[in-house]
């Protein structure tokens, strides 16, 4: 497998597409290196804008460019982009229907030991709470590529969170099932459903296999589309399986677990167990160490699933 970070997949797509589309513009806030956008900055200098460490300016300039026909990609650490410039995302991008794709890089706890200032564990909640803002957390480089290609076709705002590190492929090259705003079914099952997003999808996939070994039939969804969430997939799972486990690199407030629970409670109540980060600064460690400490891994999902059935 070809292990590259999802953010690098974004740069690759934008480089390819900008070869014939001069309206694609990438903006960074001193984040071209951390955002894997250096190749774009070097190869497309006329379509690249540096704003310096000024996220508010980054987002509003992106919106101004968009209102004059550009397809803006504002690339900045998810922790700052999602909340420091939330006001600009709300007013200048979303309220004004500006064609800005906010790319939150090094999302969740990817920055590891750099600590809470650099973690974005409430970005789904923050961005999803904005009227007219879509929220996506792709799972691997292949799905990221499909997502960015799909989003290049529309003119509306979206927030896309990707991690810092290269992750294992979830999908097979050349055969990525992808329909925009539809959850991707990774495995069908009848006993329990696992719904994951972002980097947690690969743990969910693994948990599906582990459960099978225990004789439990698990349905596994990659819910990369947090908003608009695939309600149909959630409700079908609620009707057809005995319970749902959600897992996300985010706190419990306003993330995937909250959204799934809201849908299920309103229309077809079943038990939902949400595996999330805690409501406190996380322990110091690399991403995987943090995930393992809080049970955000395949074993944690299996435990939760077994309790539900």
């Amino acid at each position: 497998m070809n292990k590259i970070a999802n953010k690098q997949a974004i740069c690759d797509v934008l480089l390819q597409e900008s070869e014939h589309d001069q309206d694609i513009v990438v903006l960074c806030s001193d984040s071209r290196g951390s955002g894997s956008m250096t190749p774009f900055a070097e190869q497309r200098p006329k379509q690249f804008v540096e704003t310096g460490i000024a996220e508010q300016n980054l987002v509003t300039i992106s919106a101004g460019l968009a209102k004059c026909g550009k397809k803006s990609f504002a690339v900045s650490p998810a922790c700052f982009l999602s909340t420091r410039s939330m006001e600009q995302a709300k007013v200048d991008v979303a309220y004004n229907h500006a064609n800005v794709k906010l790319i939150g890089i090094s999302g969740g706890v990817s920055y590891g030991a750099l600590g809470l200032t650099h973690h974005s564990t409430n970005d789904i909640a923050a961005m999803a709470s904005i009227v007219n803002m879509r929220v996506y957390l792709p799972s691997d480089r292949l799905q990221t590529e499909c997502l960015i290609r799909a989003l290049l076709k529309d003119g509306e705002p979206a927030y896309i969170r990707v991690g810092r590190n290269a992750v294992e492929d979830v999908y097979d090259e050349g055969k990525v099932p992808f329909t925009l705003n539809k959850a991707t079914l990774l495995r069908d099952g009848t006993d329990v459903t696992i719904i994951a997003c972002g980097e947690m999808v690969s743990a969910a996939k693994q948990a599906g296999e582990l459960l099978e070994q225990k004789g439990v039939s698990a349905r596994v969804f990659d819910m990369y589309c947090l908003k608009p969430i695939d309600r149909k997939a959630v409700l079908k799972a609620a009707r057809e399986t005995r319970g749902i486990v959600t897992i996300e690199e985010h706190t419990a407030f306003g993330g995937l677990g909250s959204m799934v629970s809201q849908i299920v409670c309103a229309e077809h109540p079943v038990r939902v167990t949400s595996l999330t980060l805690p409501d406190e600064p996380v322990i110091t460690g690399k991403s995987q160490q943090v995930f393992d400490y809080y049970g955000l891994n395949a074993e944690g999902i299996v435990r939760a699933a077994m309790e539900l059935i």
Partner: protein
């Protein structure tokens, strides 16, 4: 040729009438900013209902979005929508809300959250540079707004990118909702501040269409730098009992004050008309 000074008094009459009818509005700032907007819309900007979808039209952003009444009255006067549409201003289900909305014909972007307009204009000016487009971008900010940190992020970026297709105007009326700008958050001297950031700076009488016209003409000639016009204005300009009173920041007029204000503005309008006929 429009008599600009006469137009400013006519627009102020429209504004006072609108706010009197609606029962609310940022009347003090509307009165101070009117000359700036009139000089832009009737003399300098290449934008009209006829070319509103032309990619080469000039762009305008009212960063001090609360002075929307002055903007709406001008857009109506220019024919972007019928004047009678404003009868619903601030009313139930109306699209004419208390800050510029992009649902309104002629409004480029919805604004109202302070400190955003400059950065928005920078994005538009950068797009113009990328495309080699001839349009210019204008934004009007309030002086109270300058306490927003994002303004200074924009101040840096506009000079960094040498945006000589961008002109910003500060409506320097020296009052904000809580009182004098110097008491709330001292900001003298704006001229030195913007110059230090690399802007071409002009300081003019902001209630004189002649002075504003002159400054806007100069801005078009400046190369390699954005221009900042500090428009020194009087809040409530044109209505004696409103002038320099922070209490008129956001307020409506009762019937008695409405008559008084309209009479004063009519006198000024007539005088400007007279002068033009001479």
């Amino acid at each position: 040729m429009v008599n600009l000074q006469e137009k400013t008094w006519q627009i102020r009459q429209d504004v006072v009438t609108l706010i009197h009818k609606a029962g609310s509005g940022h009347i003090g700032g509307d009165m101070s900013v009117t000359d700036i907007l009139v000089t832009l819309y009737y003399k300098h900007m290449n934008c009209s209902p006829e070319n509103q979808n032309d990619p080469n039209r000039d762009r305008f952003i009212l960063s001090k979005g609360h002075c929307v009444e002055a903007l709406y009255c001008i857009l109506a006067d220019k024919g972007y929508f019928p004047k009678s549409d404003l009868d619903s201003y601030s009313g139930y289900l109306s699209k004419y809300i208390g800050h510029p909305s992009d649902k309104v014909n002629g409004v480029e972007i919805g604004s109202g959250s302070l400190g955003h307009g400059l950065s928005y204009s920078i994005g538009m000016a950068l797009a113009g540079k990328m495309d080699g487009a001839p349009y210019r971008v204008y934004t009007v900010m309030g002086d109270g707004e300058l306490a927003e940190g994002s303004v200074w992020e924009g101040a840096m970026a506009a000079a960094h990118y040498k945006l000589d297709n961008l002109t910003a105007v500060i409506d320097r009326n020296r009052l904000q909702i809580s009182g004098s700008t110097e008491t709330v958050m001292a900001q003298d001297s704006q001229e030195e501040r913007w110059r230090a950031f690399g802007w071409h700076v002009l300081s003019v009488d902001g209630n004189s269409t002649k002075a504003l016209d002159f400054a806007l003409r100069e801005a078009k000639q400046i190369k390699g730098r954005p221009t900042m016009i500090i428009a020194n204005t009087t809040k409530g300009c044109g209505v004696s009992f409103m002038e320099n009173q922070a209490s008129w920041h956001h307020k409506s007029v009762d019937d008695e004050h409405y008559e008084l204000a309209m009479r004063e503005l009519e006198q000024r309008r007539a005088a400007a008309h007279e002068q033009d006929c001479k």
